[in-house]
């Protein structure tokens, strides 16, 4: 049986939304439709799952491609330990090792690489709750919706226009981080950290990461130490990052 046209159209809009092809006005229109028909929220969640599944499958396919390339290459001959028959040979080897030390030392990651390795935009646990018509939604709700969709540039002005609160400041900091405005993010996170705002460990983790990016390693280490000695979601990552600093 053919589905009603309206539902097909909504599905197309949801697909475009997940693919990042809607402009802000279209996104708000879609929010209004989702809001008036909660069953469409399931369609949105299904669509997000399918997109993630496709990415996962593509990743596996790329891995198989690399494995098949590997199968065509000569095995790697790892150098074995040798016994040196003459002092001259040993001295030559030491020189090579020193040279290798300097070569490989250049491979040590810098602060930017470390940040890129550990940073992922914060994802709220609960999805944005839709209430009322789209015109009823306040700036914060709209900003949250855009934030979750990865539309950080569009989300920022809406956050800035919303009612002041710790939650709002937390998301402004997260948005600034996602937009690479680390100094702005640090100012807000420092304040939230100082006042013990919620979510405490998340604030500490992102502040520590921001310090890594700005090469304030001492400050970062202090916070990572704090995270690695208590039971929390960032404990393992904090320990790992701490060892890399």
């Amino acid at each position: 049986m053919t589905k009603p046209m309206e539902e097909q159209e909504v599905l197309k809009k949801i697909e475009d939304f997940v693919g990042g092809e809607l402009n802000q006005e279209e996104e708000f229109q879609l929010m209004s439709i989702l809001n008036n028909n909660p069953k469409y929220m399931d369609l949105l969640n299904d669509e997000k799952d399918l997109a993630e599944g496709i990415k996962q499958w593509s990743k596996k396919e790329l891995k198989e491609r690399l494995q098949s390339i590997e199968a065509t290459l000569n095995p790697i001959q790892l150098e074995s330990r040798r016994s040196y028959k003459t002092p001259l040979l040993a001295a030559a080897s030491v020189s090579i090792l020193i040279a290798l030390y300097f070569v490989f030392n250049t491979i040590t990651p810098n602060s930017q690489d470390l940040f890129n390795t550990y940073y992922e935009p914060y994802q709220p646990y609960a999805p944005v709750t839709m209430r009322g018509e789209v015109s009823d939604l306040d700036s914060f709700d709209k900003a949250q919706f855009l934030y979750e969709s990865g539309e950080f540039e569009k989300a920022l002005p809406l956050y800035l226009n919303s009612e002041p609160s710790d939650e709002r400041d937390f998301f402004i900091a997260q948005t600034q981080l996602a937009l690479n405005n680390v100094d702005d993010a640090i100012g807000i996170l420092e304040n939230l950290h100082k006042t013990g705002a919620h979510p405490k460990t998340t604030i500490t983790w992102f502040l520590a990461l921001s310090y890594v990016k700005t090469e304030n390693f001492d400050a970062s280490k202090t916070l990572l130490q704090e995270l690695s000695t208590t039971d929390n979601a960032y404990q393992e990552k904090a320990k790992e990052l701490l060892k890399s600093l």
């Binding site: 599944g53 496709i54 499958w57 891995k63 390339i69 150098e79 490989f104 890129n116 393992e236 060892k243």
Partner: protein
């Protein structure tokens, strides 16, 4: 090939440049990582392949706009972190008695993770049944994040509307295979 060119090619979704990078640094990476941390060669190769995939994703997601080191340095640093992380996992998963240690997130989070993994496996199985043409199209759109114009060119469609329509049909097929609406 310069790093800029490599990034441009990867942004176009060109896997052949990944093949070239893979071959170029594979031996150097494995020798370096095994000497430094003492893991097996198989593990080093596995981690190296994963590092190449992360490199691809980070470039596609434009996380490398501020890369201050070379692609090689960045690739090696990703590989190093992954390798250390793998070594730690191997050490911590088994206790001295050889039993699995339940650590980290609580059981609820673990249940969620398992459910999510099951769901992703179902989607992967559905994709296997979808047909090569649709799989390729969906990969170009969702994973390689190409524009409809680029997809039109790569898949040889008449115009972007045809490409978009085809993508919609493929998603419909996938939903049907997943018994979704």
């Amino acid at each position: 090939m310069t790093d800029d060119l490599i990034i441009r090619q990867i942004l176009k979704g060109d896997y052949t440049v990944l093949d070239a990078i893979y071959k170029e640094y594979r031996e150097e990476f494995c020798t370096w990582i095994c000497k430094k941390y003492g893991g097996s060669q198989e593990m080093a190769l596995d981690v190296y392949q994963d590092a190449i995939i992360v490199l691809f994703q980070n470039i596609k997601e434009e996380k490398l706009s501020e890369l201050t080191s070379s692609i090689k340095t960045y690739l090696f640093s990703i590989g190093r972190f992954k390798f250390i992380s793998e070594l730690r996992k191997k050490k911590t998963v088994l206790t001295k008695d050889g039993e699995l240690e339940i650590a980290g997130p609580g059981l609820d989070m673990e249940d969620d993770r398992i459910l999510k993994e099951e769901r992703l496996t179902q989607i992967e199985n559905a994709l296997e049944q979808l047909g090569e043409h649709c799989r390729e199209l969906l990969k170009l759109y969702y994973y390689k994040q190409l524009s409809m114009t680029d997809i039109m060119i790569q898949m040889d469609y008449k115009n972007t509307s045809t490409a978009k329509n085809q993508k919609y049909k493929c998603m419909q097929k996938l939903r049907k295979l997943m018994h979704l609406k």
